[in-house]
Symmetry: C2
Subunit: 395 residues, 2 copies
Amino acid sequence: MKIKGFSFSAVAAGVRYKGRLDVAMIHSEIPCVTAGVFTTSMVKAAPVVLDMDRLQRFGEAQTILANSGCANACTGEEGMEAAKTTGRFAAKRLGIDERLVLLSSTGVIGEALNVEAFEKNMDALVGGLSPAKFDDVARAIMTTDTVPKTAERTLILGGKEVTLIGVAKGSGMIMPNMATMLAYICTDVAIDFGALQKALRSANSRTFNRITVDGDTSTNDMVLVLANGCAGNTPITILDSPAGTAFAEALEDILKDLSLQIVRDGEGATKMITVRVESAGSELEAEQLARTVANSALVKTAFFGEDANWGRILAALGRAGVSFDPDMVDIFFNDVQLVCNGRAVGGQADSRAAEVLKEKEILLTINMKRGVDVAEIYTCDFSFDYVKINADYRS
Amino acid sequence: MKIKGFSFSAVAAGVRYKGRLDVAMIHSEIPCVTAGVFTTSMVKAAPVVLDMDRLQRFGEAQTILANSGCANACTGEEGMEAAKTTGRFAAKRLGIDERLVLLSSTGVIGEALNVEAFEKNMDALVGGLSPAKFDDVARAIMTTDTVPKTAERTLILGGKEVTLIGVAKGSGMIMPNMATMLAYICTDVAIDFGALQKALRSANSRTFNRITVDGDTSTNDMVLVLANGCAGNTPITILDSPAGTAFAEALEDILKDLSLQIVRDGEGATKMITVRVESAGSELEAEQLARTVANSALVKTAFFGEDANWGRILAALGRAGVSFDPDMVDIFFNDVQLVCNGRAVGGQADSRAAEVLKEKEILLTINMKRGVDVAEIYTCDFSFDYVKINADYRS
């Protein structure tokens, strides 16, 4: 994947582990209009605090400096100093203002960032910048991820080809308001800050904010979109225009692609499950019901066991904080109806559902018969390996 | 355990499985003042709906008829008819009004109650009533429980000895507003309905509502207290009196004992963890913070792995919906301080914490330095066996 005006690099700097790519750089020839959304946790890592401040003040960036192995979270003033220092190394070597560098980290919380690893490797990192190394960035930001995650979209705006390429990481600590979930989108579209930020907020709310692996939200989540304008389209200033809408759709599409890649690679996941709540009284209500089902450990272990245990689904709905009549609820596994008006359908439904449960991707549809609103939450099952990965993570 | 005026019985009726005690009866010679608290789920099992109605209308009961193997939840009108019918069998055989029989079920959701099993075994059940069979009740209501759970307390009120004996079951689907959590307390205290219900609500909020195994709330939770007055104490009518306070404390004490037995026997649990939040701005805030930590799959798997991963604890606090300054938080494992003002203490703290983590019961204390309020939530770790038990439960 390539895109006009951007180059990429990654090195094995030994931030925490030896012999794996762990520091990455995304760099644009010229400053980019830049939008960002960040974790809603009260406990925000130093790079999150720093980037939020820089984007709020300047709305532009030219470089992302990212690392895995260390989250630089719960590290106090020294952590903030460390983030700034590593950014300064990059700015100096690139010959740009340090405020144009955004920092991004993922890994263990509470350990000091290995600043020296950045200093020693900055020449190699910047020297290695190339338009062809996007995949190296994807690999460098992986933690418990088993596969790198990238996506690409193109669209034509007023005769000009516009490209978006995106990279993401995330596998555990994935829930509502994002997760140890990092995603960077590079695009050559010409757009102003207001329109880009609005497009990102909207797209993010229906993609990264609709996935959950384990219900835990990270201290380090961020999605950044850098737009350098090199496509030469008439700059988008109003999102509610034909060009604005087309770009917003492409952005949502690429974020959805990346977010589903994260769910499929959920820690220990053997299946991906879409929990779709239909005919709810409002979109918020639909989302709340779907999210409660998607986060239920009992529902997720039943999927792992390939057990069509719809009672657990109804029990999860019952504690979602939404008022409803259980005797109206229908439940489907793909096209197999298991529950009609709160009761088992019986007959062949159970054996047909058992067949559905052998599949790797399952659509669980819940019809509330209360209204017209719909929401989907994307999740995975809960396996032995989730426990294994998370009992052993730091060792 | 024995108590004046009460007798107990249990039989292997084959409600779902053969050859194990699965139907139990608790019976008082005379009608009892009876208080109850029930699941807050929107999806309530038939016996829950029936008992809530009976207690609200009459405030008294003489008999509890309980079963394991089938929850009689999500079974519609036929499920309600089945619950009433089994109660009628008991009432007829005992020669009492059917409204004095309370029903209670636990087991798989969505399957029809095996009414015939009750009918065939009612003679044996009632015929077997004996003051000495309380332990049989404890065994008959077990599902994934590995040990029966009973407790006893005595106190002296105005020279009269008052006894409380209690039985509980619960192992998974255990969270906030109780769980597939059944508990029955028999006492010979003389007390009026208002005082008993108030005492139960208060005691329950600090005991059964403060435990969590997996964050799932059941359709069948209930705690019932039957008071037959046989102790001959001056009837308690005001809870805020010396006798009322003494009884309320004993009730809270026995409920806490039973609720901790449930946590220790949590599905797959290898450790019991008390999450204590101190110096919070309010008790509600303390409870919310403690509950979020206690329900975090990442925190629970770290305890299973004996990994002092305090970063996950801070991350869980961060998403609890409470506004606080992370740089004020202290964290202790037993008496070992791991975090001071949001930062790692370092030095020997990690190795000392590793020693603490080998223990079977661990106190995790979190000091918020915001106020004076405290709350504790009781939970267990999250192991391979939790997944195994819940992936296989129905098969």
